[in-house]
């Protein structure tokens, strides 16, 4: 599993090269037709046994959310904006790095902060310790990307994994494991490590148009909100909707804002998990989207399913993922590849 290297690599949307550098050597001897397409996505083919005439695309995105430098203040503080969805309320106090330059995100000091109840990105700055504007703008440039400073950790003897960008380096790691597996699948696997998912599913669109698969599966990291809500009243009759739970196994999407999983594809995934005795769960919220959004409408249409890892605290420097969920997701996607036939795509 390459999750450590993948998680610690910085690949904010539009500049995924460091992630590519981790992936390319890992799949070099495991797949054919390895290409970097004009958008920057990696596509590769792992030939099947020829038993079943199916071209199955499996996609995971390389990019992560982050920040982009937009300007400099006279005192050397740096303005920035977000790339991809970030809750600005988590930002104050976080360490970031802009290439080799280290900084910290600061908010208005507490004694001056009399009228700001909400954290707004426009009132946050990055402090890189520069003495003035010239020094700051000499070290970093407008347009540079700032990433969360985060170290990958394995907690509790490797039971729990912690790191940044599990959305979707977790998926990238699964996809690498799939290609590295010694099995030859009965179908052709068309792997796509895509770019620019977080800002509009863009790399996947081009990759799908080019690969023109018969069916696609997306490997994702998704939000597990299986936490008590400290704001909820004790006797509230309504329940918190967790979206998904850690430890519940791979998460299957029913629908989200980018696609509706066709009922027979969802049924195939559920059936596969049940037959193989792999725990799984359904995603209980429809928020968000995945590369499936642009893949399923590519060319003449591609039946598409989504298999996700339940992660707490995605889009922060410290996402949590259970090793067991990772292993179960890997078992599921392998079972899918071993089991799928052209008949499963027809309703």
């Amino acid at each position: 599993m390459l999750l450590k290297e993948l998680s610690e690599a910085v690949g904010i949307s539009g500049k995924e090269d460091a992630v590519r550098k981790v992936i390319l050597p890992a799949i070099k001897d495991q797949a054919q037709d390895i290409r970097i397409d004009p958008m920057g996505s990696i596509t590769a083919r792992k030939a099947g046994t020829g038993e079943r005439p199916l071209r199955v695309m499996v996609a995971a995105h390389m990019d992560e959310v982050g920040l982009m430098i937009t300007g400099f203040e006279g005192d050397g503080l740096i303005r920035f904006t977000n790339i991809g969805g970030i809750d600005e309320r988590i930002l104050p106090g976080l360490r970031v790095h802009i290439g080799d330059v280290n900084g910290v995100i600061i908010w208005t000091p507490i004694h001056k902060n009399t009228d700001q109840n909400a954290v707004k990105m426009t009132s946050l700055r990055i402090d890189i310790g520069a003495k003035d504007k010239d020094e700051a703008s000499g070290k970093v440039k407008r347009g540079d990307r700032a990433a969360f400073d985060s170290r990958y950790l394995e907690l509790d003897g490797g039971r729990m994994l912690r790191g940044k960008a599990f959305d979707d380096r977790g998926g990238c790691s699964l996809l690498i494991d799939l290609l590295q597996a010694e099995t030859t699948y009965p179908v052709d696997v068309l792997a796509a490590f895509t770019v620019q998912e977080e800002i509009g599913l863009r790399g996947a669109q081009v990759a799908a148009q080019t690969l023109n698969p018969d069916v696609a599966f997306i490997l994702e990291g998704t939000t597990a909100n299986d936490l008590p809500n400290p704001m909820a009243a004790e006797d509230d009759e309504a329940e918190e909707n967790p979206t998904c739970r850690m430890g519940g196994g791979p998460v299957l999407t029913i629908l989200d804002t980018s696609m509706i999983v066709q009922p027979h594809i969802l049924a195939f995934l559920r059936d596969t998990a049940e037959r193989e005795d792999i725990p799984y769960q359904l995603k209980t919220r429809s928020a968000g989207g995945t590369d499936g959004g642009t893949i399923h409408t590519a060319n003449a249409g591609v039946p598409t399913g989504v298999i996700a890892l339940p992660c707490r605290y995605v889009h922060t420097p410290s996402a949590y993922l259970l090793r067991q969920d990772y292993d179960d997701a890997l078992r599921l996607i392998k079972a899918v590849l071993n089991r799928i036939t052209p008949d499963d795509l027809v309703r």
């Binding site: 309504a238 399923h296 003449a300 591609v302 039946p303």
Partner: protein, 364 residues
Amino acid sequence: MVEDRNDETMTKRIPAKTKRNRPLLPVQADSLVDLLRTLTSAWGPSGFEYLVRDLIRAQVEAYADEIIVDPLGNLICRVGQGGKKVMVAAHMDEIGVMVTFVEKKTGYRRFAPVGGLMNTALLGSRVRFEDGTIGTLCMPDYFHGARTAAPAFDAYYIDVSDGAEDDDSTAQPGDAGVFWTPLEQRGSRVIAKSLDDRVGCAVAIETMRRLNKQTPNEVYFVFTVQEEVGIRGARTAAYNVAPDVAIALDVTVTGDMIHVEKNGLVLGGGAAIKLQDVGLIVPPAVRDWMIERALADGVPYQRELLSLGTTDSAAIQTARSGVPSGAISIPCRYVHTTSETVDLNDVESCIRLLTGLLANEITL
């Protein structure tokens, strides 16, 4: 509280007062209403169009030269061969709900909207699941809360309780439902759920029947999926068909209600030839082709400028290297409620216009 009446008496038509002028009805009104009743009583939320597809397929099989179902589930029916390739698109899907979460303590179902639901039109609505289960949409403390403001979707839940202790067998996460009311006819007006876009499907079906395979063009009648969630099926079908020109058939919002934007469209005013909406500017050549045909055939028509929403043509126009695309819209009141209302004369006008366009050679 009204007296308890059974279904039969509910649907029995009350005779119109004799002194009133009878509404003008198109010649084939009865069969048109039957077709609309069949289509609107079918169950087909976006992504789950297979029942509607089977129904339509049975209706059109005799009038098509070739029929395929594409990977996303679009029903593509070819009529004629060799001439200009025309794609006619009407979407099979309808708005609805999808259960995402079952509340353990209460059994209430939380759901995601499928398509553009009106959150002002949800309270007390009924939805029907594929297995026939009826659910009621409600919100917490509706008796006080809903009087002043419509809450967001998150606040609503679906009640599928049947009085048994355990009602966990049905309406599970992943199960979709559609709004559920029977079709009613009031003179030349038809009131039903999902006229958006089953009336478009009806226009396509009836046009296929009238053409009876006779056309100098190569026409692809495409009954599309997933229009309501982002014109998704039309996009892939257009790639597949690669047409020279396309026409979408869909409902459009009239401006003849109180306190609405007066967009010039009236119910009963004729087929609406689309000029522009938020996703599509109809090329003048396509627009004029339609208007000239309407004038030549004496079909009542109106010009449609829609300031909200779009239809399948918006996706078709950008397929491959581009497709000149227009739309014939069926004027409709109360779109995306359970009481969508169309006029049978407008439906007939749309059928006549479309039949005329397709029966003649196309030079754009």
